[in-house]
Symmetry: D4
Subunit: 146 residues, 8 copies
């Protein structure tokens, strides 16, 4: 069976592509999935269901439409990688980590050293902490070796 990996979190850098390319270069039998990473499309995911007069409900509707996709993909995955960048609140990434923890879905984190302390609870329930996409690929290579 292929190994399914859901890539959660930061959408403003190319870390997903780096992991995917690394896995392909290594010839790994891994299928990657992710949320919709087009920021504007994601924010607008519920707009076609009717215009909202305030921001809260617009966000609410779009978040739920996105959740139809993301929860299904998380549940189908064998491993989740949760990436925290150096910008933005990224509470959705921490939310996904907590969601995985409660489901006993293994996840690893990918983030720099400068945010170790605020991520301590998220890292405490993770199976590994990586700082580079190459390390993630190396983990995938290891866990899928014949």
């Amino acid at each position: 069976m292929s190994f399914y990996v859901y890539l959660s979190g930061e959408i403003h850098t190319d870390w997903r592509e780096q992991i995917a390319q690394g896995a392909e270069a290594a010839g790994l039998d891994v299928v990657f999935t992710s949320p919709v990473t087009d920021h504007e499309a994601s924010d607008a995911a519920g707009d076609h269901l009717g215009t909202e007069g305030n921001q809260f409900w617009r966000d609410h509707k779009s978040s739920k439409v996105n959740a139809i996709r993301t929860r299904t993909l998380i549940e189908q995955s064998d491993l989740v990688v949760v990436r925290f960048g150096d910008k933005y609140k990224q509470w959705n990434a921490a939310f996904d980590a907590g969601y995985c923890a409660a489901l006993d879905k293994p996840y690893i984190t990918l983030h720099g050293e400068e945010i170790i302390h605020p991520l301590k609870e998220v890292d405490a329930a993770a199976m590994a902490w990586a700082t580079t996409p190459e390390q993630v690929v190396e983990i995938l290579r290891y866990v899928t070796r014949a």
Copy 2:
């Protein structure tokens, strides 16, 4: 039966006390629980298990000792209130929200309007969004009325 409410998140303002006092004033049969809110004690929760040479493992040990407490209290609660203040990363709060969502444990959020957008995924799975401790008390009053 008493109604159990776990108060997750921000530890630098007195929102927990405000809710507790409001509930007491209203005569509600609610038991409040929370993480250890003494910041330094929390960061040091694992120190007695041995000194660590780097920050990651010190945080790791303390976070897990804290998790023994927090996961038990979350699972024993009927409702979780997750508070996001206007400072710090507060990824642990979002992590708790995700944890609740996966367990089908009802939670509500308590935060200001200025962080609606980054909290949209967290709010999408919540049973309510409140902006003041008084609103939380009002919810508690309603859900526990005879």
Copy 3:
């Protein structure tokens, strides 16, 4: 241990009182719980969280505040009684029945003969169908006898 019974459904007749009085008259050790049955208060349960410009979101907020109460009570109960009257859509009652069915929470229905056919899926997963509060009391008397 007391036997916990959640009384779901119709709020416009006094069937809950009839069951409670019957149980008391029979000296049963049963604790009854229910949703907030004050129709206006129930519809307004979320109003204190802010005014909404349209009906959908007002209903949405109030329904979720009510669900904090009702899901907790359903999960704490040993038996759920779902009442369907001869008026209104009462989709919330059928929703509660489906919720119980998926959780393996035993439930019984209480309704007249004229709605047997539209309730066939709801009755198919129920442990009994009663037509009068007296029959419900008789079931409670039987299942709790020493």
Copy 4:
């Protein structure tokens, strides 16, 4: 993997066909399933197991035979669409919604504005509310995009 969608509820209009055609026109990799939508066949699903002298047991047997099919399909689906039309009680549709809610199976509703209020509890636990089959197709297009 294909995305599995169970279409629950109303059987007297062609909304299922509209969604299926829209999905096909959009080239989506979606598999649609549904209950048996032939009303007479559905009511008679248990008749071959023996004739019943009263309506309740005839309905009871047929509903359970139908449930063998519907519960399996609901559990195999990634998303459920629950349709409420403007006629009939449709308690089975609300029952399915409650069943999904308890299983954490994402569902969306499809209904007109005139029944917002009686469906408020059903909508409160849904991931989206759509008013047209086209909106459902748009949600499917979004959640399955590459």
Copy 5:
């Protein structure tokens, strides 16, 4: 906490009384529960819900009313004792054993040597096989000792 023991199976001999008396004599903190053991009352448990023209539906209704009681008690118990006597089919006892096995509820069997072979699947998932009520009491004494 008291230790809860559900006594399932045969209703025509006094094995329940023997175990209860033995436990009392030994001063054990054990609470015993059981189905309604009055055979006629049990068969008639659903009769007050309306007369049935055939045996199947009369049995069906009564069995479900009984199940409201028995499933709750099984789920509340720490241990189930399943007794098979030398008469009758006793499929309900084997059904309870299978129910316990799937729930990971520990159960022990109580039966004579002459029915070892037909009970082999039931015994295979049991925590012990006893042949006398005294042995059951001894197990209870052991598992509850301070």
Copy 6:
């Protein structure tokens, strides 16, 4: 997807073959599984693990080896058919029914009218009661129709 059906119970008549042939004749996409139905092989399933001096342990070992097979197949099935014949104790069949009931695995029973009363608890949790293999095939035809 094919529909998986586990055929539990009686091994001394050809009811499994009748159902399989009926399903094949009807062109149904159903996969049938079953326990090992060779009685002697089944009783001897654990003999190769070492000779036992008494019947209880010989049966114990064989039953557990059989359970490796049967539990896996039951869990993989969409429906279980539990057959009770007119001979033998068949407690394993009732055990399987209880096991299915606790797992929410739909099952139907197949037995004659003369054993309605002793099977009332088993039938009460079943989705249907059939008296002939043809009726089982008809149920399969119905639940798998396009």
Copy 7:
């Protein structure tokens, strides 16, 4: 509520007493439970059910009688402490740790530095590693502070 702690593992030193005395001295609201720690009684727990001709079945019966007690106590606990001493195989302790890990029951280990390497998988899923009973008491003091 009291905090329940199950003390698993080594039975040849007084580590349980040290923890209990430390907790009492600290005034903690903790209830300690444990397996039967009388080695001979534990090995003989099933002897009263009949004499066995070989060691395997004697051990088998006694282990299962013990498991009635230990599984119930593990499931009722908020935290499990698993102690590994410097003698014996102690596979039962590692078994309990794995059991806890799969149930998401938090556990901590208590063992010396010389067995870090062979316990790495057990420690990897633990919430903490302590080397002295005093450290365990300190963890209990922390997680139960008001």
Copy 8:
């Protein structure tokens, strides 16, 4: 469907190869999986994530990377074989057994007679105890026969 078997435990003898060859010779449709059995690679599985100053954290990181693989494979398997050799502590094998027991994942043990007593709790929850790879193959042959 193929039958999935995870081979847990001892990595210093060729028991996995013997079972695989036996299964192949018997023409069984069985897929075998296992942890990474290269001892040095396994101990070093987390080294690429950064050098650690002490043995505990090096082991901790590697164990968790290994667990990403092993837990996924255990959960995907239909049966787990847990092998205990005559050397080393092998607590990871007992941990896997406990993990399976809590998940209701059937497992069998493979070990010599000289360690019956210390493995009694592990064997008590197993579906079988084998002493040779040939016996394991025979079990696989039996449980997968057509």
